[in-house]
Symmetry: C2
Subunit: 197 residues, 2 copies
């Protein structure tokens, strides 16, 4: 149910097209939520249908026509109401941890963890690039909306840093394990392990 409010939030800043909102998910918004363009268009249609947003067609030269969406009063009210609601915390669902728990070949697990670490580092680099570009000033000098946005970025940074640290700890521990030790699986340490996928 949150995607709709992410979109309402984006629209509360400025009028946007579905295409632009989708792009936002690759930038600042991506740190909070993510959605495909199909999801975005579908949700926008629903929002317009329910009167929370409205749109105007805009003809362009050299590019296809587009629909520029803006919040209605009802949309603003609904967003405000939602913000006041208690936050629903999503349960953990972590495939990497499942694989680690399940067992399997040591080198495979190491690869998974190393890949995870690389992902986290890449995310960190992106966050730092965003910080440099959008939040170059000191916290005290930021406008209030910017302080709040910066906090969401800080969340991503601190989480990723903790993940990298954990990954390094995990690499150590897994590195010290024997070659193969599935929980109750094939258990052979035979020559092969077909690289799936």
């Amino acid at each position: 149910m949150s995607l709709r409010y992410v979109i309402l939030t984006a629209l509360s800043e400025q009028d946007l097209t579905g295409y632009q909102i989708t792009k936002e998910f690759d930038l600042v918004l991506g740190n909070l939520w993510s959605a495909s363009h199909q999801q975005v268009y579908r949700e926008l249609a629903k929002l317009a249908d329910e009167g929370l947003a409205s749109f105007e067609m805009e003809a362009q030269t050299g590019k296809p026509d587009r629909k520029i969406y803006s919040l209605t009063t009802a949309g603003k009210d609904d967003l405000s109401r939602w913000i006041e609601e208690p936050v629903l915390f999503a349960p953990t669902r972590n495939a990497l941890l499942v694989k680690l728990y399940a067992g399997g070949n040591r080198d495979t697990l190491l690869e998974h963890v190393t890949c995870f670490k690389a992902n986290c580092r890449a995310a960190l680099a992106e966050y730092q690039a965003i910080a440099k570009r959008y939040y170059p000033e000191r916290l005290e000098d930021m406008e209030e909306w910017k302080k709040r946005a910066y906090l969401t970025l800080r969340y991503g940074v601190t989480q990723r840093e903790a993940q990298v640290a954990w990954a390094e700890e995990a690499e150590q521990v897994i590195g010290d394990l024997g070659q193969s030790d599935d929980t109750a699986l094939d258990g052979d340490c035979g020559p092969d392990q077909a690289e799936a996928n």
Copy 2:
């Protein structure tokens, strides 16, 4: 697609009923994944249907009959294959960050963050209880499967600790904000800056 493999993992340790698997999600497994009993039963039925697991009815005295599920060879193979596959990382979806980004009343945001912090602390306390009960020995003295399980718990601990630290930082920053400052909602204060991007 992962729920099925979480269940296969649980079954790879020992034969279990749907009821027991559901209980597991409240304990150690809860740190990796979560699912309702309806989901568990549905998935078990599918696994049996596809020949990845099989079950035997067991009559009990004083309690209802139950189905004890066990992995088939095909099930073990499928689990092994899945473990080898690259991990699919789930995109971020964080309602708290959305609300923080959107704005709203300062005290509301503070409440949300404080509630989040309390949740994290509660989770930490649970993790510590589990650590004390299930992993009292030193890491070096653990069996290999236990080292891996311990790592998954460590992940939870390090993440939660980072979240608590962030929450305290956030409380500071939000505490210094003015009373009300929605992005473009009711409480406008002059010419709203709608920062592009």
